[in-house]
Symmetry: D2
Subunit: 140 residues, 4 copies
């Protein structure tokens, strides 16, 4: 295995064993160390009581992209505290793309930024997440 | 209609028209002005790639409870910025209960706190959410 | 020393060795395990460029109250991720009171909520803070 | 007046009328539309009870840089909800630089990211702030 495709392999395996990301229809579009781009299409069953996309769906897409970006470092990590700004409503049929970028990588913690855009390239949500980085290796 | 059951009626209607909260299996347990208690059971399809409940599920439960608590005031509102602290892992089969309490109600904004506990009454997540409160009435 | 006044003693010592809280004029009003109430009066030099209290002053008051509440458990802790909602402007001369309450106390982390009110008992800010709790004892 | 130096002029005027940023010793280093870089040196009176820089000082520097970046658009804005991740301790004598970048500019709201580094170019804090953008013009 080439060193370069290792992050990609880890993320693909994470997605393969992640039933909720699969239910959401998340596709991994680009992976490199400290970065993951993932997309999905909003379905009718993802709406809330006001007829727009449930905030939890946007958070979930961002959280999956964040988890995948964190996993590229090869060790298990988990979310401590995440803050999401909702900047534009989305609707059924919208194609969303989340870009998760590690902006701080410490020995035990990390900070990841995720920006979600719609198919018109408008920003619909911005998330900042703080993760705990364990020493446990991800086997891929 | 008695005045007292109005918040309950609004929330039940919100849930009835909210397919994602229904998919999650959310049940409304208690409602009063500025407050909503809601519960759900974690299913296998709600797991992430590490075999624990996806962070997005916890956020979604909290966000639904928050939206329901906000709706008790009778007007449409939506999330601006939500911050969630994950305090304990949860697993398939866990019964989760979210209590959303309005801690600030301004003319245009509000702040809601949500605490999620598991069936051992351990806190598993704490969310603080800032909402925008529109003047549009919810018809119930 | 009676067990009951230990948290109070720790917090008083924290304040005595905290020059920035002293500069702000913070007074500790009430202390018990997992709780601290602290107050201060806004001075002209605490304003921002719009002539209202600088957001950093509100955050600083909340952060001091949070640090004092965390210290009542007797061990050193530090902030990981804090989120503050600004709900009402304040001005020079306003007397502010912050109540910090520990709402989750885990083995290594904790979550503290802080609510700041003005002298009309209006809520002016709400903070949720996640702390790392070390094993190092505070000597008091 | 050349169009190009207008954002710079607005920010300089904001700083001139901002006594708390002056107390902190904040210097504006670079300004363009949607961006502000500002620096300061930590003084002994900015410490907390553990002998490190008070979290409120880091937040205040980030909040000033955020306010300056927001002001470059020429209208008055104020913070709604800000979330800060503390990633490294800082001490008396450290020279801190904050870069505030507008990552979302909507009609009524905006999202600003601020990254603070120390003189070794290590990231010490990351803030995401949501602002309300009023229609009131800043006179400069």
């Amino acid at each position: 295995m080439k060193k370069d495709d290792h992050p990609e392999k880890i993320v693909q395996q994470m997605l393969n064993s992640d039933p909720f990301s699969q239910w959401m229809g998340i596709k991994v579009l680009e992976v490199r160390e400290g970065f993951c781009k993932a997309g999905m299409t909003v379905r009718k069953e993802m709406q809330n009581g006001y007829g727009v996309t449930h905030g939890g769906i946007l958070f979930s897409l961002a959280d999956s992209a964040l988890a995948f970006a964190s996993a590229t470092f090869g060790t298990v990590s988990f979310g401590i505290d995440h803050s999401i700004s909702f900047t534009k409503k989305t609707n059924t049929g919208d194609e969303l793309i989340a870009e998760a970028t590690c902006i701080f990588r410490g020995s035990r913690t990390g900070v990841i930024q995720v920006i979600i855009i719609n198919d018109k390239k408008q920003k619909v949500a911005v998330l900042k997440g703080t993760i705990y980085r364990s020493e446990e290796k991800i086997i891929a």
